[in-house]
Symmetry: C2
Subunit: 257 residues, 2 copies
Protein backbone atom coordinates (compact mmCIF):
# COMPACT_ATOMS: atom_id res chain seq x y z
CA UNK A 1 0.00 0.00 0.00
CA UNK A 2 1.00 3.61 -0.21
CA UNK A 3 0.37 7.05 1.22
CA UNK A 4 -1.14 10.14 -0.38
CA UNK A 5 -0.52 13.85 0.11
CA UNK A 6 -2.46 16.61 -1.62
CA UNK A 7 -2.68 20.37 -1.39
CA UNK A 8 -5.25 22.80 -2.77
CA UNK A 9 -5.02 26.55 -2.12
CA UNK A 10 -6.54 29.87 -3.13
CA UNK A 11 -3.09 31.33 -3.89
CA UNK A 12 0.05 29.49 -5.06
CA UNK A 13 1.76 28.07 -1.98
CA UNK A 14 4.80 25.87 -1.45
CA UNK A 15 4.41 22.43 0.08
CA UNK A 16 7.91 22.18 1.61
CA UNK A 17 6.71 21.85 5.24
CA UNK A 18 4.16 19.09 4.55
CA UNK A 19 6.48 17.28 2.13
CA UNK A 20 9.24 17.35 4.74
CA UNK A 21 7.08 15.27 7.10
CA UNK A 22 5.49 13.16 4.38
CA UNK A 23 8.71 12.17 2.63
CA UNK A 24 10.40 10.73 5.74
CA UNK A 25 7.62 8.12 5.78
CA UNK A 26 9.28 6.81 2.62
CA UNK A 27 11.89 4.74 4.44
CA UNK A 28 12.46 6.36 7.85
CA UNK A 29 9.35 6.79 10.02
CA UNK A 30 7.42 4.35 7.81
CA UNK A 31 8.21 1.75 5.15
CA UNK A 32 6.84 3.23 1.92
CA UNK A 33 10.25 3.00 0.25
CA UNK A 34 9.40 1.68 -3.24
CA UNK A 35 9.43 5.03 -5.03
CA UNK A 36 7.70 8.36 -4.73
CA UNK A 37 6.44 11.25 -6.82
CA UNK A 38 4.95 14.74 -6.70
CA UNK A 39 3.04 16.79 -9.26
CA UNK A 40 2.74 20.58 -9.22
CA UNK A 41 0.23 22.49 -11.34
CA UNK A 42 1.33 25.99 -12.26
CA UNK A 43 -1.48 27.49 -14.31
CA UNK A 44 -2.15 25.06 -17.15
CA UNK A 45 1.41 23.76 -16.83
CA UNK A 46 2.28 20.75 -14.72
CA UNK A 47 5.56 19.22 -13.64
CA UNK A 48 6.10 15.89 -12.00
CA UNK A 49 9.13 14.67 -10.10
CA UNK A 50 9.30 10.90 -9.69
CA UNK A 51 11.96 8.51 -8.51
CA UNK A 52 12.01 4.79 -7.81
CA UNK A 53 14.41 5.41 -4.91
CA UNK A 54 13.02 5.88 -1.37
CA UNK A 55 11.96 9.48 -0.75
CA UNK A 56 14.26 9.71 2.29
CA UNK A 57 17.39 9.15 0.18
CA UNK A 58 16.37 10.38 -3.31
CA UNK A 59 18.39 13.45 -4.42
CA UNK A 60 15.30 14.61 -6.30
CA UNK A 61 13.17 14.47 -3.14
CA UNK A 62 15.89 16.50 -1.44
CA UNK A 63 15.50 19.15 -4.16
CA UNK A 64 11.71 19.21 -3.66
CA UNK A 65 12.15 19.63 0.12
CA UNK A 66 14.57 22.55 -0.33
CA UNK A 67 13.30 24.37 -3.45
CA UNK A 68 9.93 26.08 -2.87
CA UNK A 69 7.66 25.56 -5.90
CA UNK A 70 4.46 27.58 -5.60
CA UNK A 71 1.32 25.83 -6.76
CA UNK A 72 -2.42 25.75 -6.12
CA UNK A 73 -2.86 22.02 -6.88
CA UNK A 74 -0.29 19.47 -5.68
CA UNK A 75 -0.50 15.66 -5.56
CA UNK A 76 2.23 13.52 -3.96
CA UNK A 77 2.64 9.81 -3.30
CA UNK A 78 5.03 7.44 -1.55
CA UNK A 79 4.85 3.86 -2.68
CA UNK A 80 4.88 0.47 -1.02
CA UNK A 81 4.57 -1.86 -3.97
CA UNK A 82 1.63 -4.28 -4.17
CA UNK A 83 1.08 -4.73 -7.93
CA UNK A 84 3.94 -3.87 -10.34
CA UNK A 85 7.68 -4.07 -9.58
CA UNK A 86 9.79 -1.20 -8.22
CA UNK A 87 10.34 0.82 -11.40
CA UNK A 88 9.94 4.35 -12.67
CA UNK A 89 6.90 3.47 -14.81
CA UNK A 90 5.05 2.27 -11.70
CA UNK A 91 5.66 5.43 -9.64
CA UNK A 92 2.69 7.70 -8.95
CA UNK A 93 1.43 10.29 -9.74
CA UNK A 94 0.48 9.35 -13.29
CA UNK A 95 -0.31 12.01 -15.85
CA UNK A 96 -2.32 12.08 -19.06
CA UNK A 97 -3.94 14.81 -21.16
CA UNK A 98 -7.72 15.07 -21.54
CA UNK A 99 -9.66 17.96 -23.13
CA UNK A 100 -6.45 19.97 -23.54
CA UNK A 101 -5.55 19.81 -19.83
CA UNK A 102 -3.15 17.60 -17.93
CA UNK A 103 -4.80 15.23 -15.45
CA UNK A 104 -2.81 13.81 -12.54
CA UNK A 105 -3.73 10.79 -10.42
CA UNK A 106 -2.32 9.01 -7.37
CA UNK A 107 -3.84 6.01 -5.58
CA UNK A 108 -3.57 4.43 -2.16
CA UNK A 109 -4.97 0.94 -2.01
CA UNK A 110 -5.09 -2.33 -3.86
CA UNK A 111 -7.67 -3.39 -6.45
CA UNK A 112 -7.63 -7.17 -6.29
CA UNK A 113 -10.28 -8.11 -8.83
CA UNK A 114 -9.59 -5.50 -11.43
CA UNK A 115 -8.32 -6.89 -14.73
CA UNK A 116 -9.39 -4.00 -16.99
CA UNK A 117 -7.68 -4.27 -20.39
CA UNK A 118 -7.91 -0.96 -22.17
CA UNK A 119 -8.50 -1.05 -25.91
CA UNK A 120 -9.19 2.67 -26.07
CA UNK A 121 -6.90 5.67 -26.28
CA UNK A 122 -5.73 5.65 -22.64
CA UNK A 123 -3.48 2.65 -22.07
CA UNK A 124 -1.28 1.90 -19.08
CA UNK A 125 2.51 2.10 -19.53
CA UNK A 126 3.37 0.33 -16.26
CA UNK A 127 1.91 -2.65 -14.45
CA UNK A 128 -0.06 -1.16 -11.55
CA UNK A 129 -3.75 -1.52 -10.81
CA UNK A 130 -3.59 2.23 -10.10
CA UNK A 131 -2.60 3.28 -13.61
CA UNK A 132 -5.24 0.92 -15.04
CA UNK A 133 -7.85 2.62 -12.86
CA UNK A 134 -6.67 6.06 -14.03
CA UNK A 135 -6.93 4.97 -17.68
CA UNK A 136 -10.47 3.71 -17.04
CA UNK A 137 -11.46 7.02 -15.46
CA UNK A 138 -10.11 9.07 -18.37
CA UNK A 139 -11.46 6.72 -21.03
CA UNK A 140 -14.92 6.93 -19.43
CA UNK A 141 -14.84 10.74 -19.18
CA UNK A 142 -13.55 11.10 -22.74
CA UNK A 143 -16.21 8.82 -24.18
CA UNK A 144 -18.97 10.48 -22.15
CA UNK A 145 -17.88 14.03 -23.05
CA UNK A 146 -15.88 13.77 -26.31
CA UNK A 147 -16.13 17.44 -27.27
CA UNK A 148 -14.51 19.07 -24.26
CA UNK A 149 -14.62 19.57 -20.53
CA UNK A 150 -18.18 19.84 -19.20
CA UNK A 151 -19.15 21.72 -16.00
CA UNK A 152 -18.10 20.15 -12.70
CA UNK A 153 -21.66 19.09 -11.84
CA UNK A 154 -21.63 16.84 -14.91
CA UNK A 155 -18.18 15.38 -14.24
CA UNK A 156 -18.90 14.67 -10.57
CA UNK A 157 -21.60 11.95 -10.90
CA UNK A 158 -19.59 10.10 -13.58
CA UNK A 159 -16.50 10.12 -11.40
CA UNK A 160 -18.50 9.12 -8.31
CA UNK A 161 -19.95 6.13 -10.15
CA UNK A 162 -16.51 4.93 -11.28
CA UNK A 163 -15.15 5.46 -7.76
CA UNK A 164 -18.00 3.42 -6.25
CA UNK A 165 -17.56 0.63 -8.78
CA UNK A 166 -13.80 0.39 -8.29
CA UNK A 167 -14.12 0.61 -4.49
CA UNK A 168 -16.11 -2.64 -4.66
CA UNK A 169 -12.97 -4.33 -6.08
CA UNK A 170 -10.64 -3.38 -3.23
CA UNK A 171 -9.23 -0.28 -1.56
CA UNK A 172 -9.46 2.86 -3.67
CA UNK A 173 -8.38 6.09 -1.96
CA UNK A 174 -7.25 8.53 -4.61
CA UNK A 175 -6.38 12.13 -5.47
CA UNK A 176 -7.14 13.44 -8.97
CA UNK A 177 -6.73 16.91 -10.44
CA UNK A 178 -6.50 18.79 -13.72
CA UNK A 179 -5.17 21.95 -12.07
CA UNK A 180 -8.69 23.40 -11.99
CA UNK A 181 -10.69 20.84 -10.01
CA UNK A 182 -9.23 18.79 -7.17
CA UNK A 183 -10.91 15.47 -6.31
CA UNK A 184 -10.23 13.42 -3.17
CA UNK A 185 -11.89 10.04 -2.80
CA UNK A 186 -11.89 8.06 0.42
CA UNK A 187 -12.48 4.35 0.34
CA UNK A 188 -10.89 3.50 3.71
CA UNK A 189 -8.54 6.22 4.95
CA UNK A 190 -8.02 9.87 4.01
CA UNK A 191 -8.20 13.10 6.04
CA UNK A 192 -7.71 16.82 5.56
CA UNK A 193 -7.12 20.10 7.30
CA UNK A 194 -7.97 23.63 6.18
CA UNK A 195 -5.54 26.29 7.31
CA UNK A 196 -6.82 29.86 7.20
CA UNK A 197 -6.77 33.03 9.33
CA UNK A 198 -6.20 33.17 12.24
CA UNK A 199 -3.10 31.09 11.41
CA UNK A 200 -1.09 29.32 14.10
CA UNK A 201 2.04 27.20 14.44
CA UNK A 202 2.05 23.58 13.28
CA UNK A 203 4.35 20.79 14.43
CA UNK A 204 5.13 17.72 12.32
CA UNK A 205 4.57 14.19 13.63
CA UNK A 206 7.40 12.63 11.62
CA UNK A 207 10.09 15.27 12.21
CA UNK A 208 10.68 17.61 15.13
CA UNK A 209 9.87 20.64 13.00
CA UNK A 210 7.54 23.55 13.69
CA UNK A 211 6.38 26.23 11.27
CA UNK A 212 4.57 29.35 12.39
CA UNK A 213 2.18 30.09 9.54
CA UNK A 214 1.50 33.59 10.94
CA UNK A 215 4.91 34.58 9.62
CA UNK A 216 4.35 33.16 6.13
CA UNK A 217 0.78 34.03 5.22
CA UNK A 218 -1.57 36.90 4.47
CA UNK A 219 -5.05 37.04 6.11
CA UNK A 220 -6.85 35.96 2.93
CA UNK A 221 -4.74 32.81 2.31
CA UNK A 222 -6.46 29.45 2.57
CA UNK A 223 -4.78 26.06 2.17
CA UNK A 224 -6.28 22.58 2.34
CA UNK A 225 -3.88 19.70 2.96
CA UNK A 226 -5.17 16.18 2.33
CA UNK A 227 -3.25 13.12 3.56
CA UNK A 228 -3.65 9.42 4.28
CA UNK A 229 -2.96 10.12 7.96
CA UNK A 230 -2.42 13.46 9.77
CA UNK A 231 0.99 15.10 9.28
CA UNK A 232 0.88 17.33 12.38
CA UNK A 233 0.22 16.57 16.05
CA UNK A 234 -1.14 19.92 17.27
CA UNK A 235 -3.95 20.47 14.75
CA UNK A 236 -7.33 18.81 14.25
CA UNK A 237 -7.56 16.84 11.01
CA UNK A 238 -10.99 15.91 9.61
CA UNK A 239 -11.48 12.32 8.43
CA UNK A 240 -13.09 11.97 5.01
CA UNK A 241 -15.83 9.33 5.24
CA UNK A 242 -15.61 6.04 3.35
CA UNK A 243 -17.17 6.33 -0.13
CA UNK A 244 -17.06 10.14 0.08
CA UNK A 245 -15.77 12.02 -2.99
CA UNK A 246 -14.81 15.59 -2.09
CA UNK A 247 -14.00 18.39 -4.49
CA UNK A 248 -11.60 21.01 -3.13
CA UNK A 249 -11.82 24.54 -4.47
CA UNK A 250 -9.67 27.47 -3.31
CA UNK A 251 -8.67 25.50 -0.22
CA UNK A 252 -12.17 24.44 0.85
CA UNK A 253 -14.02 21.13 0.40
CA UNK A 254 -17.29 21.22 -1.53
CA UNK A 255 -19.80 18.42 -1.21
CA UNK A 256 -21.89 17.28 -4.14
CA UNK A 257 -23.63 14.27 -2.56
CA UNK B 1 14.04 29.68 -31.80
CA UNK B 2 15.48 27.01 -29.61
CA UNK B 3 18.17 24.36 -29.39
CA UNK B 4 17.90 20.58 -29.21
CA UNK B 5 20.03 17.95 -27.51
CA UNK B 6 19.44 14.22 -27.77
CA UNK B 7 21.24 11.07 -26.74
CA UNK B 8 20.78 7.45 -27.80
CA UNK B 9 23.01 4.65 -26.49
CA UNK B 10 23.36 0.89 -26.40
CA UNK B 11 23.71 0.91 -22.59
CA UNK B 12 22.23 3.39 -20.10
CA UNK B 13 24.57 6.37 -19.93
CA UNK B 14 24.45 9.71 -18.13
CA UNK B 15 24.29 12.94 -20.12
CA UNK B 16 25.96 15.19 -17.50
CA UNK B 17 28.91 16.22 -19.74
CA UNK B 18 26.80 17.16 -22.78
CA UNK B 19 24.12 18.83 -20.65
CA UNK B 20 26.82 20.87 -18.90
CA UNK B 21 27.77 22.48 -22.21
CA UNK B 22 24.24 22.62 -23.60
CA UNK B 23 22.63 24.22 -20.56
CA UNK B 24 24.98 27.23 -20.44
CA UNK B 25 23.54 28.21 -23.84
CA UNK B 26 20.35 28.92 -21.91
CA UNK B 27 21.38 32.41 -20.81
CA UNK B 28 25.19 32.50 -20.70
CA UNK B 29 26.96 31.55 -23.96
CA UNK B 30 23.70 31.99 -25.89
CA UNK B 31 20.30 33.57 -25.33
CA UNK B 32 17.89 30.60 -25.12
CA UNK B 33 16.69 31.69 -21.68
CA UNK B 34 12.90 31.19 -21.90
CA UNK B 35 12.74 27.81 -20.20
CA UNK B 36 14.25 24.39 -20.68
CA UNK B 37 13.49 20.72 -20.22
CA UNK B 38 14.94 17.22 -20.38
CA UNK B 39 13.32 13.78 -20.64
CA UNK B 40 14.97 10.51 -19.61
CA UNK B 41 13.61 7.12 -20.58
CA UNK B 42 14.41 4.36 -18.12
CA UNK B 43 12.90 1.17 -19.52
CA UNK B 44 9.24 1.94 -20.15
CA UNK B 45 9.38 4.67 -17.53
CA UNK B 46 10.07 8.27 -18.39
CA UNK B 47 10.75 11.33 -16.30
CA UNK B 48 10.84 14.91 -17.44
CA UNK B 49 12.37 17.90 -15.71
CA UNK B 50 11.11 21.25 -16.98
CA UNK B 51 11.45 24.81 -15.76
CA UNK B 52 10.46 28.17 -17.20
CA UNK B 53 13.60 29.70 -15.66
CA UNK B 54 16.81 29.94 -17.75
CA UNK B 55 18.81 26.71 -17.63
CA UNK B 56 21.90 28.56 -16.34
CA UNK B 57 20.12 29.64 -13.15
CA UNK B 58 17.42 26.97 -12.66
CA UNK B 59 17.99 24.90 -9.47
CA UNK B 60 16.43 21.94 -11.29
CA UNK B 61 18.96 22.23 -14.15
CA UNK B 62 21.68 22.32 -11.48
CA UNK B 63 20.34 18.99 -10.15
CA UNK B 64 20.39 17.48 -13.66
CA UNK B 65 24.00 18.65 -14.19
CA UNK B 66 25.13 17.10 -10.89
CA UNK B 67 22.99 13.96 -10.51
CA UNK B 68 23.86 11.28 -13.09
CA UNK B 69 20.66 9.67 -14.43
CA UNK B 70 21.43 6.71 -16.68
CA UNK B 71 19.27 6.40 -19.75
CA UNK B 72 19.38 5.07 -23.31
CA UNK B 73 17.04 7.70 -24.77
CA UNK B 74 17.31 11.36 -23.71
CA UNK B 75 15.73 14.48 -25.25
CA UNK B 76 16.55 18.00 -24.01
CA UNK B 77 15.59 21.50 -25.12
CA UNK B 78 16.41 25.11 -24.29
CA UNK B 79 13.82 27.63 -25.38
CA UNK B 80 13.84 31.03 -26.99
CA UNK B 81 10.15 31.81 -27.25
CA UNK B 82 8.59 32.48 -30.65
CA UNK B 83 4.98 31.31 -30.22
CA UNK B 84 3.51 31.00 -26.70
CA UNK B 85 4.52 33.05 -23.63
CA UNK B 86 7.25 32.04 -21.15
CA UNK B 87 5.33 29.51 -19.06
CA UNK B 88 5.68 25.95 -17.83
CA UNK B 89 3.03 24.63 -20.22
CA UNK B 90 5.09 25.91 -23.18
CA UNK B 91 8.36 24.25 -22.14
CA UNK B 92 9.63 21.31 -24.20
CA UNK B 93 9.89 18.33 -24.20
CA UNK B 94 6.20 17.48 -24.35
CA UNK B 95 4.97 14.04 -23.42
CA UNK B 96 1.89 11.99 -24.27
CA UNK B 97 1.01 8.30 -24.18
CA UNK B 98 0.35 6.30 -27.36
CA UNK B 99 -0.06 2.50 -27.64
CA UNK B 100 0.83 2.08 -23.94
CA UNK B 101 4.17 3.89 -24.25
CA UNK B 102 5.21 7.44 -23.43
CA UNK B 103 6.21 9.55 -26.42
CA UNK B 104 8.41 12.60 -25.97
CA UNK B 105 8.90 15.45 -28.44
CA UNK B 106 11.02 18.61 -28.66
CA UNK B 107 11.15 21.06 -31.56
CA UNK B 108 13.55 23.68 -32.84
CA UNK B 109 11.99 26.03 -35.36
CA UNK B 110 8.92 28.06 -36.07
CA UNK B 111 5.85 26.91 -38.01
CA UNK B 112 4.36 30.14 -39.31
CA UNK B 113 1.40 28.90 -41.31
CA UNK B 114 0.26 26.11 -39.04
CA UNK B 115 -3.15 26.69 -37.46
CA UNK B 116 -4.04 23.03 -36.77
CA UNK B 117 -6.98 22.82 -34.36
CA UNK B 118 -7.17 19.34 -32.91
CA UNK B 119 -10.63 17.87 -32.42
CA UNK B 120 -9.25 14.42 -31.69
CA UNK B 121 -7.89 12.83 -28.55
CA UNK B 122 -4.50 14.63 -28.54
CA UNK B 123 -5.03 18.29 -27.73
CA UNK B 124 -2.42 20.91 -26.87
CA UNK B 125 -2.29 22.22 -23.29
CA UNK B 126 -0.05 25.20 -24.06
CA UNK B 127 0.12 27.67 -26.91
CA UNK B 128 3.13 26.60 -28.97
CA UNK B 129 3.21 25.55 -32.62
CA UNK B 130 5.50 22.74 -31.37
CA UNK B 131 2.92 21.07 -29.13
CA UNK B 132 0.31 21.41 -31.89
CA UNK B 133 2.69 19.62 -34.27
CA UNK B 134 3.28 16.87 -31.68
CA UNK B 135 -0.49 16.40 -31.26
CA UNK B 136 -0.88 16.14 -35.05
CA UNK B 137 1.87 13.50 -35.22
CA UNK B 138 0.30 11.35 -32.47
CA UNK B 139 -3.26 11.80 -33.74
CA UNK B 140 -2.13 10.68 -37.20
CA UNK B 141 -0.24 7.64 -35.88
CA UNK B 142 -3.13 6.67 -33.59
CA UNK B 143 -5.71 6.90 -36.36
CA UNK B 144 -3.49 5.03 -38.82
CA UNK B 145 -2.63 2.25 -36.36
CA UNK B 146 -5.42 2.19 -33.74
CA UNK B 147 -4.71 -1.30 -32.41
CA UNK B 148 -1.14 -0.91 -31.26
CA UNK B 149 2.41 -0.08 -32.24
CA UNK B 150 3.30 -1.39 -35.71
CA UNK B 151 6.86 -2.26 -36.82
CA UNK B 152 9.25 0.64 -37.38
CA UNK B 153 9.15 0.28 -41.17
CA UNK B 154 5.43 1.09 -41.06
CA UNK B 155 5.80 4.04 -38.67
CA UNK B 156 8.68 5.59 -40.61
CA UNK B 157 6.90 6.59 -43.87
CA UNK B 158 3.94 8.05 -41.95
CA UNK B 159 6.25 10.14 -39.81
CA UNK B 160 8.34 11.18 -42.82
CA UNK B 161 5.24 12.40 -44.63
CA UNK B 162 4.10 14.50 -41.65
CA UNK B 163 7.64 15.88 -41.25
CA UNK B 164 7.78 16.85 -44.93
CA UNK B 165 4.35 18.49 -44.79
CA UNK B 166 5.12 20.50 -41.67
CA UNK B 167 8.57 21.49 -42.94
CA UNK B 168 6.79 23.26 -45.79
CA UNK B 169 5.16 25.54 -43.18
CA UNK B 170 8.40 26.74 -41.59
CA UNK B 171 11.39 25.35 -39.71
CA UNK B 172 10.84 21.91 -38.23
CA UNK B 173 13.88 20.30 -36.64
CA UNK B 174 12.70 17.82 -34.01
CA UNK B 175 13.59 14.91 -31.75
CA UNK B 176 10.95 12.28 -30.98
CA UNK B 177 11.17 9.05 -28.98
CA UNK B 178 9.09 6.45 -27.20
CA UNK B 179 12.09 4.96 -25.38
CA UNK B 180 12.38 2.27 -28.04
CA UNK B 181 12.83 4.23 -31.28
CA UNK B 182 14.63 7.54 -31.49
CA UNK B 183 13.78 9.87 -34.41
CA UNK B 184 15.77 12.96 -35.39
CA UNK B 185 14.44 15.18 -38.16
CA UNK B 186 16.47 17.95 -39.76
CA UNK B 187 14.71 20.76 -41.54
CA UNK B 188 17.55 23.32 -41.39
CA UNK B 189 20.10 22.50 -38.69
CA UNK B 190 20.92 19.36 -36.69
CA UNK B 191 24.10 17.30 -36.32
CA UNK B 192 25.34 14.25 -34.45
CA UNK B 193 28.38 12.38 -33.29
CA UNK B 194 28.82 8.69 -32.50
CA UNK B 195 31.26 7.93 -29.71
CA UNK B 196 32.56 4.36 -29.59
CA UNK B 197 35.84 2.48 -29.04
CA UNK B 198 38.57 3.61 -29.34
CA UNK B 199 37.31 6.38 -27.05
CA UNK B 200 39.16 9.68 -26.62
CA UNK B 201 38.93 12.91 -24.68
CA UNK B 202 36.32 15.53 -25.60
CA UNK B 203 36.40 19.24 -24.83
CA UNK B 204 33.26 21.41 -24.59
CA UNK B 205 32.85 24.56 -26.69
CA UNK B 206 30.71 26.39 -24.13
CA UNK B 207 32.68 25.57 -20.98
CA UNK B 208 36.37 24.87 -20.48
CA UNK B 209 35.69 21.27 -19.53
CA UNK B 210 37.30 18.08 -20.83
CA UNK B 211 36.16 14.51 -20.22
CA UNK B 212 38.30 11.52 -21.10
CA UNK B 213 35.81 8.88 -22.15
CA UNK B 214 38.49 6.16 -21.95
CA UNK B 215 38.12 6.36 -18.18
CA UNK B 216 34.36 6.09 -18.17
CA UNK B 217 33.49 3.49 -20.80
CA UNK B 218 33.79 -0.17 -21.70
CA UNK B 219 34.90 -1.21 -25.22
CA UNK B 220 31.38 -2.21 -26.29
CA UNK B 221 29.72 1.11 -25.32
CA UNK B 222 28.29 3.26 -28.09
CA UNK B 223 26.65 6.65 -27.66
CA UNK B 224 25.12 8.97 -30.26
CA UNK B 225 24.71 12.61 -29.28
CA UNK B 226 22.48 14.77 -31.48
CA UNK B 227 22.47 18.56 -31.17
CA UNK B 228 21.47 21.72 -33.02
CA UNK B 229 25.14 22.72 -33.21
CA UNK B 230 28.27 20.80 -32.07
CA UNK B 231 28.93 20.74 -28.33
CA UNK B 232 32.65 19.92 -28.54
CA UNK B 233 35.53 21.56 -30.44
CA UNK B 234 37.92 18.60 -30.84
CA UNK B 235 35.58 16.05 -32.44
CA UNK B 236 34.00 15.77 -35.88
CA UNK B 237 30.23 16.19 -35.86
CA UNK B 238 28.19 15.00 -38.85
CA UNK B 239 25.52 17.36 -40.19
CA UNK B 240 22.12 15.76 -40.80
CA UNK B 241 20.86 16.85 -44.21
CA UNK B 242 17.78 19.03 -44.62
CA UNK B 243 14.60 16.90 -44.92
CA UNK B 244 16.45 13.86 -43.56
CA UNK B 245 14.68 11.79 -40.89
CA UNK B 246 17.16 9.54 -39.04
CA UNK B 247 16.31 6.75 -36.66
CA UNK B 248 18.94 6.06 -34.01
CA UNK B 249 19.23 2.57 -32.59
CA UNK B 250 21.80 1.47 -29.98
CA UNK B 251 23.83 4.61 -30.65
CA UNK B 252 23.90 4.35 -34.46
CA UNK B 253 21.86 6.14 -37.14
CA UNK B 254 19.80 3.98 -39.48
CA UNK B 255 18.59 5.30 -42.79
CA UNK B 256 15.21 4.37 -44.21
CA UNK B 257 15.12 6.69 -47.23
Amino acid sequence: MCQLLGMNCNVPTDICFSFEGFSVRGGKTDDHRDGWGIAFFEGRGCRIFIDEKPSVTSPIAELVRRYPIHSTHVIAHIRKATQGKIALENCHPFRRELWGRYWVFAHNGDLQDFDYQSTGVYRPVGKTDSERAFCLILETLQQKFPDGKPPLDQIYPVLKEIADTLSSKGIFNFLLSDGENFFAHCSTKLCYIVRQAPFAAAHLIDQDLTVDFRELTTPSDRVAVIATTPLTDNEVWTPIQPSELLVFQDGLPLKFD
